[in-house]
């Protein structure tokens, strides 16, 4: 079967690729476009390691087909730091030691930023439910939650 030609925007830049109908956006990002920051933990939508933004919505890229992103805008973890300036979520994760192996971290960064972009004053419970789709097996989530709360304060311009 012929491959499908897809043109899209990834991290603000035009991108095009050929994909098979069954290939997921995650496969395309990692294998075709060399954007390996998004991770595969399950390929079934249960771990969130593959989290990306698709037209402003937080999605599991393993549940999106490559062919579906024709004409869309995709943003991945690689685009969250601006130049050498880390996003507050990234900075606070580092300061809190909110990562151990770091495999879940790209997904957590993308998901947490998506939350703070729509609500920069979430409660602990709101953060916990928002991140409930991002498995972290190392940290017990405690420091991740703390880091996101501090990042929210940063984004509100509060000194801490």
């Amino acid at each position: 079967m012929a491959k499908i030609h897809v043109t899209t925007t990834i991290n603000g830049d035009p991108a095009e690729f050929l994909c098979e109908p069954h290939e997921t956006l995650l496969d395309i990002l990692r294998d075709e476009l060399q954007l390996t920051g998004s991770k595969e933990g399950c390929a079934s939508g249960d771990c969130g390691a593959c989290s990306v933004m698709l037209d402003g919505r937080l999605v599991c890229s393993c549940l999106v087909l490559g062919a579906e992103v024709q004409g869309s805008e995709v943003e991945t973890v690689e685009n969250i730091a601006q130049g050498d300036k880390l996003h507050p979520v990234q900075q606070r994760i580092l300061e809190h030691g909110a990562l151990q192996c770091g495999y879940c971290t790209p997904g957590i960064v993308v998901a947490a930023k998506a939350l703070l972009d729509r609500n920069n004053d979430p409660s602990e419970t709101e953060i916990r439910y928002w991140l409930a789709g991002n498995l972290c097996r190392c940290t017990g989530y405690d420091k991740i939650i703390g880091a996101v709360m501090d990042a929210a304060a940063d984004m509100r311009g509060e000194a801490s």
Binding site: T36, G37, E40, G41, L94, C101, T105, V109, C136, R137
Partner: protein
């Protein structure tokens, strides 16, 4: 050399880890993030049966498929005799490992690998797998450990005759071995008991649940050498096991340690790595293999299901007079469960005069069990600490007080042999009792449980080099894969010794050709053992710096001390030379400065932990909510407290999952029914409260900075802490894990009925 722990500049602070930025930006390269030009994709054919004889495997159609470049089956592997290969914390039988990597004769569990293919695309590889024709004779299977021990159980291995009995049996069975250890006279001890409790407990197999599936890229070159990229807890272990399985020299295999996305003991052996090398050899091209999540669940090494009996006798004033345990652990398809460690650890928080533990290592038709964070200890502690809780109730004694009366201390002889030196068991209990959590109030349907746990921690072989660059910056070269921030700990210790800023130290985890053997990252050993190697290597640098400075100053090296990052003369004129000054002249004063150390570290210093757990049990649904959780642990000296706390929090949450949700669920055909994160339910953020940590710092005298292992002890207490809290909330004693809402509700109903 030991350091004044109250006067440290860097150790004990919380700098950002050296590999941190790469890990928050997606730049870090994990196992599956690497590819090679011309690489093939390798896939594995796995058994659909729990137990079956392989009558034939016909690979001719798969081989004929266009795009298929290599196909291997078990018969292509070399035969290897039984031999234990030490991998640090555990020993692996390479004969069994070979059969686990590719089955021969029989498949022993659902998911057992029996053939592999490498093809130009993943799709072709999948098609090729479907074209392999395997004829099976399905055999009766056994999953449950107690069932597997019965004389009429289906036998997995015709050559398994129970070891450790007075007389070796003449008929094969699934009992690989029996072990026994003890202190004093148990029968005599029980005679002095006022109260004796006897209980049985069961746990299910649970998986480490690391989020990164196993992945490897291997390239076998025509000169007989192989390049291997993979994530593991020990790349030297990967190298040596692959060399044994494939009949290669260790020096011919170079393993590059990718960043590792979690292991918890599960990445201390090999599965697909030897297959990738073997198929690369056949195809003459690189081969990349990644496991799916289902493969990780079906065919790697979860910690085993267990069945345990505990009998403890106490006097009315709360003194334990005797303890007698029997632990039955299933090992999976091949011998080698962590039952030995369970026997050694289960009773060890207590000073006992009379104790006996008997362990059985049992095979069954499940994937070969692997190490999981304090392997065996959480199971044993679940049993012992549940019984201890019941005893405290019977004695009408505070559970911490009861434990404190019996707690191990300096001079206590442990059941596994040693007499403890400086340990923090009692300090931890006292800190727990004094924590505000322990004194806080509870509401209706709420309860509080505590439990203690012990882990040995290991030392082992580590080596490191500290390279001083001309500009006065430093690179530490070590060989322990960094799973949880150990690069930061190494940089901190090196900077402390050298007296320079943390930011001037970089840390590299080198590949197997660039540094000598290091035991794997396991046994909570890295900050301890590799930390000693790095400290020694940095001290070696200091000596060289002093020597060069002394020569420059024209005085004896004895008259030069190292202070605040510079060599200072103690005699004559007050001269001083900084590390950067000396480094800048190094080329002219004898060449670049390199410090080295190679050690086999002893005296890891055991860890003790006590956890407090509050739960609320919904009487309508049986749902158990964790309300509050506090972990208290003797951590030795915390080099980077954030990462120490992180270990404690992560371990506690894994234990909560084990207690409440996680289990390998087999159907009546012996097939795993939940090989995915949806049905194998690990804790998510919304299931949990913050996890409080109390670091009790009882320095380990055997480490220059007082480090003890930290990573494993936190998984030991939670199982019992959770069920003890459930008991406190409901009056119902749960003895089988996991306590799912369904089980809880049934138990609540039965309890109510009995009361009526």
């Amino acid at each position: 050399m030991t350091y004044d722990l109250d006067n440290l500049k860097i150790v004990g602070t919380r700098p950002i880890r050296p590999d941190g930025v790469d890990k928050v930006t997606g730049r870090a390269n994990f196992g599956a993030d690497f590819k090679m030009p011309g690489q093939l994709i390798g896939k594995v054919l796995r058994s659909p049966h729990a137990h079956a004889r392989i009558i034939s495997i016909d690979t001719s159609k798969a081989k004929a498929l266009t795009g298929v470049k290599a196909v291997i089956v078990g018969e292509d592997m070399i035969d290897i005799a039984h031999e234990l290969s030490q991998t640090g914390e555990t020993a692996i039988d390479v004969h069994d490992l070979s059969l686990n990597v590719l089955a021969r004769g029989k498949v022993l569990y659902d998911g057992h690998a029996l053939a592999a293919v490498a093809a130009t695309t993943a799709k072709i590889a999948d098609e090729a797998l479907a074209l392999i024709d395997v004829q099976y004779e399905v055999l009766p299977h056994v999953i449950d450990v107690d069932e597997a021990m019965k004389p009429d159980a289906p036998v997995l291995h015709d050559d398994m005759f129970t070891k450790g009995l007075d007389e070796t049996p003449t008929t094969p069975s699934n009992i690989a071995s029996r072990m026994e250890m003890g202190l004093g006279d148990v029968e005599e001890g029980f005679k002095h008991a006022d109260i004796i409790i006897e209980r049985s407990y069961k746990t299910k197999a649970v998986h480490q649940g690391y989020i990164e599936p196993h992945a490897v890229v291997a390239n076998f070159a025509e000169d007989g050498t192989a390049f291997v990229w993979c994530s593991s807890q020990g790349h030297f272990t990967v190298r040596d096991l692959c060399a044994k399985l494939l009949g290669m020299d260790s020096s011919a295999i170079r393993v590059i340690p990718a960043e590792i996305g979690g292991g918890f003991g599960g990445k201390t052996t090999v599965y697909i790595e030897p297959l990738a090398i073997a198929m690369s050899k056949l195809a003459g091209r690189p081969v990349k293999m990644t496991m799916t999540r289902a493969e990780v669940f079906r065919a790697t090494g979860p910690t085993p299901a267990t069945s345990m009996d505990v009998k403890i006798g106490v006097t009315n004033d709360g003194k334990i007079v005797a303890a007698d345990c029997e632990f039955r652990f299933h090992a999976g398809a091949f011998a080698g469960s962590p039952v030995g460690a369970a026997c050694m650890a289960g009773l060890t928080p207590y000073a006992l005069e009379n104790a006996r533990v008997v362990g059985y290592d049992v095979v069954s038709n499940t994937c070969k069990s692997g190490a999981y964070r304090a392997p065996g200890a959480p199971n044993g502690a679940f049993a012992v600490e549940s019984a201890m809780d019941e005893l405290a109730q019977m004695l009408k004694m505070d559970p911490i007080e009861f434990r404190h009366i019996n707690a191990a201390e300096e001079g206590t002889k442990a059941i596994y042999g040693p007499t403890f030196k400086q340990i923090g068991c009692k300090d931890v209990l006292v800190a727990t009792r004094e924590h505000p959590h322990y004194k806080s109030n509870l509401g209706p349907n709420q309860g509080r449980g505590i439990a203690s746990g012990f882990w040995f921690n290991v030392g082992g072989q580590s080596n490191a080099a500290v390279n001083v660059h001309e500009d006065g910056t430093v690179t530490v070269v070590e060989g322990s894969p960094d799973i949880g921030g150990t690069r930061a700990a190494m940089a901190m210790m090196a900077a402390e010794v050298l007296g320079i800023e943390y930011e001037r130290v970089q840390v590299v985890v080198a590949d197997t050709a660039s540094i000598a053997h290091n035991d794997g990252t396991g046994g909570s050993r890295v900050t301890f053992a590799t930390g000693i190697a790095v400290t020694n290597a940095a001290e070696d640098v200091v000596l060289q710096l002093r020597t060069r400075a002394a020569a420059d100053m024209g005085i004896d090296v004895e008259d030069v001390v190292w202070q605040d990052g510079s060599a200072q003369a103690t005699k004559g004129d007050a001269k001083s030379m900084s590390l950067a000054d000396i480094a800048a002249k190094a080329a002219r004063t004898g060449g670049i400065i390199v410090g080295r150390s190679s050690i086999n570290a002893r005296g890891a210093g055991p860890s003790f932990a006590t956890h407090i757990c509050d739960v609320e049990v919904d009487p309508e649904t049986g749902y158990i909510e964790i309300l509050r959780y506090t972990t208290v642990q003797d951590v030795g000296k915390a080099i980077h407290p954030s990462y120490v706390e992180g270990q404690m929090q992560g371990g506690a949450v894994q234990g909560i999952g084990w207690a409440l949700n996680e289990e390998y669920f087999y159907n009546e055909d012996g097939l795993l029914e939940n090989p995915g994160f949806l049905d194998y339910r690990m804790p998510v953020a919304s299931d949990l409260p913050m996890i409080d940590t109390v670091l009790v710092e009882v320095a380990n005298p055997n480490h220059p900075f007082g480090v003890r292992g930290v990573g494993e002890a936190p998984l030991v207490p939670p199982l019992a802490a959770v069920v003890n809290a459930i008991y406190d909330a409901t009056g119902v004693r749960m003895t089988e894990l996991p306590v799912t809402p369904i089980k809880m509700l049934a138990a609540l109903d039965a309890y109510k009925e009995a009361a009526e």
